[in-house]
Symmetry: C2
Subunit: 188 residues, 2 copies
Amino acid sequence: MSRWEPNARGRLEQAALELYLEQGFDRTTVVEIAARAGLTERTFFRHFADKREVLFAGAGELRERLVGGVIDAPPSVPPMEAVAGALESLAQMFHARRDLVLPRHRVISANPELQERELIKMAGLAQALTDARRRRGVADPAARLSAEAAIAVFRVAFERWVSGPERADLASLVRSSLEELRGAVAAD
Amino acid sequence: MSRWEPNARGRLEQAALELYLEQGFDRTTVVEIAARAGLTERTFFRHFADKREVLFAGAGELRERLVGGVIDAPPSVPPMEAVAGALESLAQMFHARRDLVLPRHRVISANPELQERELIKMAGLAQALTDARRRRGVADPAARLSAEAAIAVFRVAFERWVSGPERADLASLVRSSLEELRGAVAAD
């Protein structure tokens, strides 16, 4: 008997982010999120397991995009370039969803528990990327190290992006952060 | 009125690790740890806030050693070499405490919640190292990137150490992992 609810998921996401920013994540209830979105609590739970999942439901897509970018690169592309390409593809996705990504970042920055969850998500991404690099034939310590380094590059670029001027390009920041890393770890 | 309890802290640590390995972290109580160590519960709580802290109380010393190694390096030492030196100093500490470090690692590997805590501890180390590098005059994206890379190097070396032959030298594994990272991030 459910009504057709156009873009219920997006409306719930939008409503949740607004409320988390207005009154804090901890003090926001699912009832309030559903009400703000003009939907029922039941509809909320059709889309998300709980109010935290609104912030982390995108992790799977992020991982697929990152791993897909590495796996799908033509064999002629050198391994680190395949990773850089995958990171730039993530950057484009983030840029396109700027209106959700930036408030989400503000919500997470304001809450230590969410920051821990974000950290765990990033470790999961590094692990997925390590596995992808192994499948591309990169040997083991190198696969893990370059995956961890790639995630660090992306995080640093992301932080520069959120704290920098409005029109900065995340993909360029990823590229320049990778160059910075190369310089920083070079044998001086 | 407390009796003199020689090396109470070390005995509690030892007893806790034994019990965590024998019956699992979750199923072990502070009462059991104290009893195994031949000490009282009250003595336990003079040394540790809870049973998890037995595993993480060393984080402060680890951080001081790492940061100290970077800060104290002579100005003539290039930044990445200062970090490598600090990591090798950590490696020596780990090697000397092998009898605690290895069982601790087995306990943490068996418990997802402890793994998350360990991840958060590593992120704290990366942050402390970033701050130390800034104080050494390294500019910002490079400070953060090289600190994250250094922690990744240490973690990978540590994993090779715990899963490798009995007599492997952690300091050499740190050094070779750093070389691997340099190769892995190089512009192919």
